[in-house]
């Protein structure tokens, strides 16, 4: 049921791949380690590129189409490279009630950044999350991995501008 892909993947066995391999080894290279392996891969590479998906499929002996199907089913995985900085706006109910849509609007208006898009200079990616569990602090966003609470649109704009200008030189 699990054909070996005909073309062997050119495996750049660098340190990043070793991280993924370690995860798969911990799970005995069982096919049910797929999601864990994809988590590791995304952590290591920043996103899931086709070559990595192919290598994971080969190692775990899972059909290519299934790997791709799993990688695209879950919101957490991304198949596109992300910007150097990420702004994950929470659009859960509490944040919605407290105006998360205004944050999204201002990002689109001011920087032409919609959910899932990256600025042309590759500096900033905007994503949305369905509730990060910080409802008590709505509206919230995760800015480069840190939860920022009770945000105003102006604060978000300031942060994004800072990111964009800082890394220009």
């Amino acid at each position: 049921m699990t054909p070996e892909p005909a073309k062997g993947a050119p495996a750049p066995k660098d340190n990043r791949w070793r991280l993924v391999e370690a995860t798969m080894r911990r799970h005995g290279h069982k096919s049910h380690a797929l999601i864990e392996a994809l988590h590791s891969a995304q952590e290591a590479y920043g996103f899931l590129e086709n070559d990595v998906l192919r290598m994971v499929a080969t190692e775990l002996r899972i059909p290519l189409s299934k790997v791709y199907g799993v990688a695209t089913f879950y919101n957490f995985f991304t198949l596109k490279p992300q910007g150097r900085h990420t702004c994950v706006v929470c659009t859960g109910t509490a944040c919605y009630i407290k105006g998360a849509d205004q944050i999204m609007n201002v990002l689109e208006k001011k920087f032409d950044l919609k959910s899932g898009s990256t600025s042309p200079d590759g500096q900033v990616s905007v994503l949305t999350a369905r509730c990060i569990g910080s409802c008590g602090l709505a509206p919230a966003a995760v800015l480069d991995g840190a939860v920022a609470a009770k945000l105003t649109p102006a604060q978000v704009v300031a942060k994004v501008e800072e990111w964009m200008s800082h890394d220009q030189h």
Binding site: M1, P5, P63, G69, F73
Partner: protein, 251 residues
Amino acid sequence: MSSRPSAKPTAPAPSSKVKTLTIDDRLVSAREDESILDAARQNGIQIPTLCNLDGLTPVGACRLCMVEVKGSSKLFASCVTMVGEGMEVVTDSERLQNYRKTIVELLFSERNHICAVCVSNGHCELQNLAQLLGVTHLTVPYRNPKLPVDASHERFVNDHNRCVLCQRCVRVCGEVEGAHTWDLRGRGIDTRVITDLNQPWGSSETCTGCGKCVHVCPTGALTEKGKSIREMAKQSRFLPYLTMMREDRSE
């Protein structure tokens, strides 16, 4: 899916018991490992289906075969509900017909099913269902999504505009051919069938070109290149044949 035993064993287990039940007020009997749909069909009672195909693991996805069972307010997908002793099944109440019509409408609205210019016009299961259920127009708005056509394979075409996501191609490729070239990507309204890493079909490394997916496809989503409407009738009879030939008859 494949890790779970098929709901339809290829041979009856020697210990399986027979149940009697009524379907549309008719007394019928069936093995306990048979579905309501099986029992109905054996007795000439037709329940509309789309995702179901004899020889493939039932998935209960299209929801067209829903039936009422007396004593429960819930509806049951007859393809995945096993028969039970004394069950009273209703297959064609007004409520059910109404739901089925809406489900067919939803399918027509989801993508761009333009029968007049489709190679499966005249032998399409979706088109037949609409006619059977009396869907003469859609009450829901058309979504008109922009979808690609993949004609990269030398013999076959995949037109996403006509796909109903029944997963027959996914199942026949995985369960019968064993290539698992097909799967689904994305989710919800953005779900699509894919080959390998969502690459053009023609560049697939795992497709054996056997054409089983084309012939189990209920609509014009998967077709053979260069065939006229008249020639493009699907032949899915190979499936029960293969199932039969693979049966264990070692005793």
